[in-house]
């Protein structure tokens, strides 16, 4: 489990040790835009908060890093909200159930995930951003798109679908080699996840082989998406502290209005 407090990181942040006590830095409000049309009735200019996305495979350290970012942001006086995939009240139980049976075809699964995303977008992300919160997204449309692209879905179709999403202020992709992900997964669970192994794709009957192949394909799609969307690739092989340091510095830059892309 992720440890919720790591004061060491806070102290190491340049010039923050004393300012932490009372001075709260006001974030610079920047214009937000959507990837496409956005959502009916929502004006990007009214989204005062920031949207920070952490992407990466299971075992890449996403939740640990998000917990650290939340600690750091709150210690600096910023209100935070967290979202993630398959957490909507609208469809997540049904989505879970459908996945267990593995009975959904790819377009259906894709749209189910999009519905889950849209529900959280409209009920959590956008209202929180309007209210000036820092929204931390544990995965975002990039994972959804990469998964679908690996499954052969049409890229323009996906781009249109996710035109509802606001462009984040920062996106960090924690890149970890598939071989290392296997080790981390086994140290936690002793079993590979069916979907994280891409077993539905029929790449291999052997789950271990399938996992490595699927994660390589996902990493390939992320590198492609990185070139299009320009997010930050973070070397996830380093220590928790080192990664945390890098993310904190970059989020700090975002708060003062220097977007990472």
């Amino acid at each position: 489990m992720a440890k919720r407090t790591h004061r060491g990181t806070l102290a190491r942040r340049p010039g923050s040790a004393s300012s932490l006590k009372s001075r709260v830095v006001l974030p610079r409000i920047t214009q937000h835009r959507f990837f496409g049309h956005g959502v009916p009735g929502v004006d990007g200019a009214k989204l005062r908060g920031k949207l920070i996305v952490v992407e990466g495979a299971d075992g890449s350290g996403r939740s640990t890093q998000i917990a650290r970012l939340v600690d750091w942001l709150e210690a600096n006086g910023h209100a935070t909200v967290q979202v993630g995939l398959k957490r909507s009240t609208l469809v997540s139980p049904e989505l879970e159930q459908a996945q267990e049976g593995n009975i959904l075809s790819r377009t259906t699964l894709s749209l189910f995930y999009a519905t889950d995303f849209a529900d959280q977008l409209e009920n959590i992300i956008l209202p929180a951003m309007k209210a000036g919160f820092m929204v931390l997204a544990d995965r975002y449309i990039y994972t959804l798109m990469a998964r679908d692209l690996v499954r052969g879905m049409d890229e323009p179709w996906l781009k249109n679908l996710y035109g509802i999403a606001p462009v984040p202020d920062a996106v960090f992709y924690l890149q970890v080699a598939p071989e290392e992900l296997v080790q981390r997964t086994f140290s936690k669970n002793a079993a590979l996840d069916y979907w994280e192994s891409g077993m539905d794709l029929g790449l291999s009957r052997d789950m271990f082989d399938s996992f490595l192949e699927y994660q390589s394909r996902m990493a390939h799609q992320f590198r492609r998406l990185q070139k299009i969307y320009g997010f930050t690739i973070v070397d996830g092989h380093r220590s928790v502290e080192e990664i945390s340091q890098e993310l904190t510095e970059k989020v700090d830059a975002v708060l003062v209005g220097k977007n990472s892309h």
């Binding site: 496409g36 049309h37 959502v39 009916p40 009735g41 009240t89 609208l90 469809v91 139980p93 049904e94 459908a98 009975i103 959904l104 075809s105 790819r106 377009t107 259906t108 894709s110 749209l111 189910f112 999009a114 519905t115 849209a118 529900d119 977008l121 409209e122 009920n123 049409d154 323009p156 179709w157 249109n160 679908l161 035109g163 509802i164």
Partner: protein
Amino acid sequence: MLKTFAELNFPGRLIAVEGLDGSGKSTQIYLLKRWLENQGLKVYFSEWNSSELVKSATSKGKKRELLTPTTFSLIHATDFADRYERHLLPLVRAGYLVLCDRYIFTAFARDTVRGCPPDWVRGIYNFAALPDLTFFFKADLEVSLNRILDGRPQLKYFEAGMDLRLSTDPYESFRIFQGRILELYLAMTREFNFQVIDANLGVEAQQAVVRQLVTNRIDLESFRLNGGGALPMRTSNQLKNKWRKELIAEPLLEDQEAHHH
């Protein structure tokens, strides 16, 4: 996609009915289904918003009035995709006459009235082929309204378009909402080559026109379950013989072993 199933060279055909609530389209497609079944044809019927999988999420969303235009649109698209990928497309490919009570045009009309960008909605549904025949049941707005309002005076929230805040009175809201949908249907008539049926006529008169059009446009003989003429998807004798030969030439392994003993 914008091609019909026939243009995609699939052996089956898809017939859709569209129209306002209360236009009598469900009655007409039911009578069409009965007529085709009585002739011993391969028929499959599918209704809008009927996927078992998605149903609980949709009804939960509607009951709790949780749906926004975007999630309303996406959850119906998920429902459609599930039916399309698991039933409609495979059945058309197997040479069935597939009848649909509402098709993608329902989404084009409703979602657009709710404020979703028309090209976003159309883009989402572009995985689906166009019907080979689409009937649009065009009734005077007052006739449709009266049929609904006489029958079940308790209007549901989304059905009445209450989410659009057109009026605080459900009946007035329903009238405005249906009126806008009718405009969009009329605008799509030429583009999607709707066969317009005068829904102000009596049930029998409408059914006679429907049956005539189906007979003219579709070679019904080729959809017979048993026997009939040149069947597009009937397993040909040539194909059957090929399989028979293979079975004789390559007996199963167990059979071979049995011979040795």
